[in-house]
Point group: C2
Chain length 146, copies 2
Amino acid sequence: MFSKACEYGIRASIYIGQQSASGRRVGLKDIAAEIGSPEAFTAKVLQQLVRAQLVTSVKGPAGGFELTPEQLRTVTLREIVVAIDGGAMLQGCALGLPQCSAKQPCPMHYQFLPIRDQLNELLRTHTIGELASKVHEGLGFLKQFS
Amino acid sequence: MFSKACEYGIRASIYIGQQSASGRRVGLKDIAAEIGSPEAFTAKVLQQLVRAQLVTSVKGPAGGFELTPEQLRTVTLREIVVAIDGGAMLQGCALGLPQCSAKQPCPMHYQFLPIRDQLNELLRTHTIGELASKVHEGLGFLKQFS
DNA sequence: TGCATACCGGACAAATTTGTCCTTTAATTT
DNA sequence: AAATTAAAGGACAAATTTGTCCGGTATGCA
Ligand code: FES
Ligand code: FES
């Protein structure tokens, strides 16, 4: 579905959001440990999100990553996905035709479209802040314990 | 969504199915040309499908690939996808957690599940023969012309 | 039997994704 | 100012996916 980079990016954003909602700024090491991701690779992904202004970073001692109240309220899953994976999965043809269009649709087109639309809707309507509070209430996990 | 290999595999199967329905057996070169895929790579993918007994191949002159009437009737998109990409996309967690389960669900789990279920249903309920006839009637394309 | 055809299979190569390491840059504290 | 902290950035390495090439094998035909 999503690339590893994107999965890490989403999980990281949600964790950062959860901590930001409690007024805590978090460092890379902490993030990687909490979401169970490779540290250096997660750093690269976070750089992308910072450049896209979906996450805020602060250098130096007591620095780290955070979501501003505005980011917490407005940044959606869709923006994260687009920033990392691009729009291919959100607009592309299920069978890989160069264009998904009703002009020359693939044989799955009309069956596939509603599903893809629902996925788009799901990503568009869920903010990081919303998912973060779910995690905060123990209704969702970013890492599994055995 | 699906890997390139899987996309080629589905498109190839549908084209083979369409021709088989008209009693024609088709060669690799023909297939690759008709679905717009790299020939040698498509060969690899078809080998997988033949091994999985989702497509039938015949060697020698006038040989090629075909779908038996039974294959045309019973092979579903889902079987093709599973044979090539495995079950990860059909059962895995949207955020990449090692297990998708209500025990320790990711924060997208309950929103994502119905969409994934619909995708599963879509793949499970569409046979290659069905899609092939759609192409045959000009209602679907396996390659785009400009 | 010999030959031509077309899939099979293995090895190899290119491209992309995933992941690591190390130096530089910016900010805070002493 | 100097030292410390933590993200930024570049180079590099490993793994996976995508794609190519070629000799082997089975089949049909003359
Ligand atoms: S053309 Fe294939 S999904 Fe739209
Ligand atoms: S746990 Fe993430 S989708 Fe089910």
